[in-house]
C-alpha cells in the first residue's frame, strides 16, 4: 500500500472510489455496534460472580465488632479503608470509602468547594471573581463536565508522552484563580499513558498560588493492566506530604472495573486533615455509605495481591479486544501513514488521532454505518478538539466478533474521511 501522502490525485480518486464502495457495502449490512463507553463486558462481570456469595449469614456481615448492616462508620469500614490503603500504597487513615461511584465524590468535592470552600480556602469558590481548572487533554469528558457545571473556566493543557505538559502546568498554577487540575495518572483516559516519575514528582512539587489548589488524581486504572505484569506506581499522597503540601491532592479509585460497574465501591485518598474535614462535610448528607457492599468487596477481593490475580482474569478477556483494534489499525491504516494511535498495556481505551480536521467526519461516517463511538471532541474541554483529530475507541463491551465488524467500519470511515479531505470533497 502507498501512503496517501505519496499518491497522485488520480491514485487518490481511484482509492476513494474503491473505499466508498467498500464503505457502502458495510453500511448496507445495517450494523448496530457500540464502542462508545468503557463498559466491562458480560464475560468480565461473570468472572467475579463469587462476589454475590461471600456474605450469606448475619455473622458474615461483621467487620470485627462492627455490624456493617447498621448505621455508622461514615469514613468506611476499617477493613475497607485498609484494603484501599494496600491497593494505593497510602495509610488507612488517609482513606475515605464512599458509595458506588468515585465520580460522585469528585463532584461532591467541587460542589462543597464551590459553596463552602476546601480545607485551606480563604473563601468559597462561588465568592471568587472566577475559578479556573486545568484540563490536560485529551482527557475524561466527565471530569470536564463537572468543571463546566460549576462554571469554571476550563484551560486546555496538551498531553505529552510522559503526561501533561508540566511546564505549562507550573506556569498556570501561579495564577491564584487556578484551583484544580484533573488527571488520570495511570493509563490515562484516553491516551493510556502512564505518567513518568518525573511528571509525578513535578505534580507533588507544585507550588500553586492558590492555597486551596487541588489535584484531582483519578487513579481509575491503578491496577488495570491487560498486557504484561502489574506496573508499580508511586503513592501521590505521601509524595505531596513529603513535598510540604499534604492537602493539595485528592486521589480516587473504585472497583467499577474490578467487580461490577453498576454495583461497586469507591474510595478517596487524601491527607488525614482532608479526610477529617470531609468526614465532617459529608456527615451533613450521609449517615454512612453502603458498608455491606464494602465488606462484600473486602471479603471477595481480600488484598492487593489477590485483586491483581482477579485483574489477570479480566486481562484475559480484554487483551484479545485490544489486539483486534491494534491489528486492524496496523494492517489497514498504518501503511497509509495519515493517522496514529497509542498502544496501551492497560486502561480501557485506545486513543486514535485521525488526519487533522477529520475526526468529526470519521465519527459521522461510523455512525451512519451503525457504529457508535464516543463523540468526536468529547475528550477536550468544551468538547472542542483544536485539531479535530482525536477519537476514543472503547473496545471493552462488544464481543470480539462484533469488534471485528466495528473496526472494519472504523477503518473504512478513517480512510474515506482522509480521502475526502485530501480531495477537498467536503
Amino acid at each position: 500500500m502507498t501512503p496517501y501522502s505519496c499518491m497522485t490525485r488520480d491514485e487518490l480518486e481511484a482509492a476513494y472510489t474503491q473505499v466508498l464502495s467498500q464503505y457502502d457495502a458495510c453500511k448496507a449490512q445495517g450494523l448496530k455496534l457500540n464502542m462508545a463507553r468503557g463498559k466491562p463486558a458480560k464475560k468480565q462481570l461473570d468472572l467475579v460472580s463469587d462476589l454475590l456469595n461471600v456474605l450469606q449469614t448475619p455473622e458474615d456481615c461483621f467487620d470485627g465488632d462492627i455490624d456493617s448492616r447498621n448505621y455508622g462508620e461514615l469514613a468506611g469500614l476499617p477493613s475497607a479503608r485498609a484494603y484501599w490503603a494496600d491497593v494505593l500504597g497510602c495509610k488507612a487513615s488517609e482513606i475515605f470509602v464512599g458509595g458506588a461511584a468515585s465520580l460522585n465524590m469528585m463532584c461532591d468535592i467541587v460542589s462543597r468547594a464551590y459553596t463552602h470552600g476546601l480545607l485551606n480556602s480563604p473563601r468559597p469558590w462561588c465568592k471568587e471573581e472566577k475559578i479556573k481548572f486545568l484540563c490536560p487533554a485529551p482527557g475524561y469528558d466527565r471530569h470536564f463536565q463537572i468543571g463546566e457545571f460549576y462554571g469554571a473556566e476550563l484551560i486546555y493543557i496538551p498531553m505529552t508522552a510522559t503526561g501533561p505538559d508540566m511546564d505549562m502546568v507550573e506556569e498556570y498554577v501561579k495564577d491564584p484563580l487556578v484551583k484544580m487540575i484533573w488527571v488520570v495518572p495511570k493509563y490515562s483516559n484516553p491516551d493510556g499513558i502512564i505518567f513518568s516519575d518525573e511528571t509525578i514528582q513535578r505534580f507533588a512539587n507544585l507550588k500553586p498560588a492558590a492555597p486551596d489548589f487541588a489535584i484531582i488524581w483519578d487513579n481509575a486504572y491503578c491496577i488495570h493492566e491487560f498486557k504484561g505484569d502489574y506496573v508499580p506506581f508511586p503513592d501521590i499522597i505521601s509524595m505531596c506530604r513529603d513535598a510540604g503540601r499534604p492537602d493539595m491532592v485528592f486521589e480516587f479509585a473504585s472497583t467499577s472495573k474490578i467487580t461490577f460497574a453498576g454495583g461497586g465501591t469507591s474510595c478517596m485518598a487524601a491527607s488525614e486533615a482532608n479526610i477529617q474535614y470531609f468526614t465532617g462535610v459529608f456527615g451533613v448528607q450521609m449517615i454512612s455509605y453502603d458498608k455491606v457492599n464494602q465488606l462484600r468487596h473486602v471479603k471477595f477481593l481480600k488484598d492487593k495481591a489477590h485483586t491483581l490475580e482477579i485483574m489477570k482474569r479480566h486481562a484475559s478477556v480484554m487483551a484479545p479486544k485490544f489486539e483486534c483494534v491494534s491489528r486492524w489499525l496496523n494492517q489497514e491504516i498504518a501503511p497509509l501513514g495519515f493517522a496514529h494511535w497509542n498502544d496501551p498495556k492497560g486502561g480501557y481505551f485506545v486513543s486514535l488521532y485521525t488526519m487533522p480536521g477529520t475526526a468529526k467526519r470519521t465519527w459521522q461516517l461510523c455512525k451512519e454505518a451503525g457504529v457508535v463511538m464516543t463523540n468526536a471532541g468529547a475528550t477536550y474541554p468544551y468538547r472542542k478538539d483544536p485539531n479535530d483529530s482525536n477519537l476514543r475507541i472503547a473496545p471493552s463491551l462488544p464481543p470480539v466478533e462484533e469488534l471485528e465488524k466495528a473496526m472494519e467500519v472504523l477503518c473504512l470511515s478513517l480512510k474515506l474521511s482522509a480521502l475526502e479531505k485530501l480531495l477537498e470533497k467536503l
Copy 2:
C-alpha cells in the same frame, strides 16, 4: 402518688431526697446504655438475612434485558422504580432510585438548588438575597442541619396533633424568600404524628409566592407500623398534580429501616418533569447508582404487600420496646403530672415533653448516669428548644433488658430535674 404540683415544699424536699438517693444508686452501677439514634436492633437486621442470598448467579442479576451489574439506567432499574411506585402509590415514571441514603438525595436537591436552581427557579438560591426554610418542630435534626449548612434562615413552625400549624405555613409561604418546608408526614420524627387528611390537602393546595418553593416530604416511616395494621396514606405526588403545582413536592423513602440501615436503597418521588430535570443534574455526578443492590431489594421485598409482611416481623421486635418505654413513663411519671409524651403506633421515636426548662438538665443527668439520649434541643432549628422541654427517646437499638435499665435512669432523671426546678435548686 401525689402530683408534684399538689405537693407542699416539705413533701417536695422529701421526694427530692428519696429520688436523689435512687438516682445515685443507679449512677453507681456504671451503666453504658444508648437511646440516642433510630438504629434498628441486631434482631431486626437478622430477620431480613435472606436479602443476602437472593442474587447468586449472573442470571439472577438481570432485570429483564438490563444487566444490573453494568453501567446505565441512572433513574433506577425499571423493577425498582415500579416497586417504589407500588409502595408510595405514585407512578413508576415519578420515581428516581438512588443509593443507600435518601438524606443524600435531599442534600443534593438543596445543593443543586443553591448553585443552579430547581426546575422553576428564576435564579440559583445563592443569588437570592437570602433563603428561608420552614421547619416544623420538634423535627428531624438532620433536616435542619442541611438548611443550616446552606445558610438558610430556619423558621420554627410549631407541630400540632394533626401536623404542622398550617395557618402559619400558609402565611409564611407568601414570602418569596421562603423556599422549602421539611416534614416527616407519617409517624413524624420525633412526635410520631400522622398528618391529618386536612393537613395533607392544605399542603397540596399551598400557593407559595416563590415559583420554586419545594416541600421535602420525607416519608421515612411510610410503612413502619409497629402496633396495629398498616395505615393507608395518600399519594402527595398526585395531590400536588391535581392541585396544579406538580413540581412543588419531593418525596423520599428508603429501606434503611426495612432491610439494612447500612446497606439499603432509597428513592425520590416527584413530578415527571422534576425526575427528568434531576436525571440531567445527577448525570453530572453519576453514571448510575448501585443497581445490583436495587435488584437485590426488589427480589427480596417483591412488592408492597410482601414488604408489609416483613414489617410485621420488625413490629414484633419493636413493639415490646415501645411498650417498655410506655410502661415506665405511665407508671413512674404519669401520676406525678409534670410531663407528657406521645404514644405512637409506628415510626422510631417517643417524643417526651419534660417540665419546661428541664430537658437539657434531664439529658445531662441521664448522661452522668451512663444513658445517652439524643441531645436536648436537637429536634428544633438551631438546636434551640424554646421551652427546653422536648427529648427524643429512640428505643429501637438496645435489647429490652437494657432498655428497662435505661428507662429507670430516664424516669429518675426526669423526676430529679423537675424537683430541682420546683425547689429552685439550680
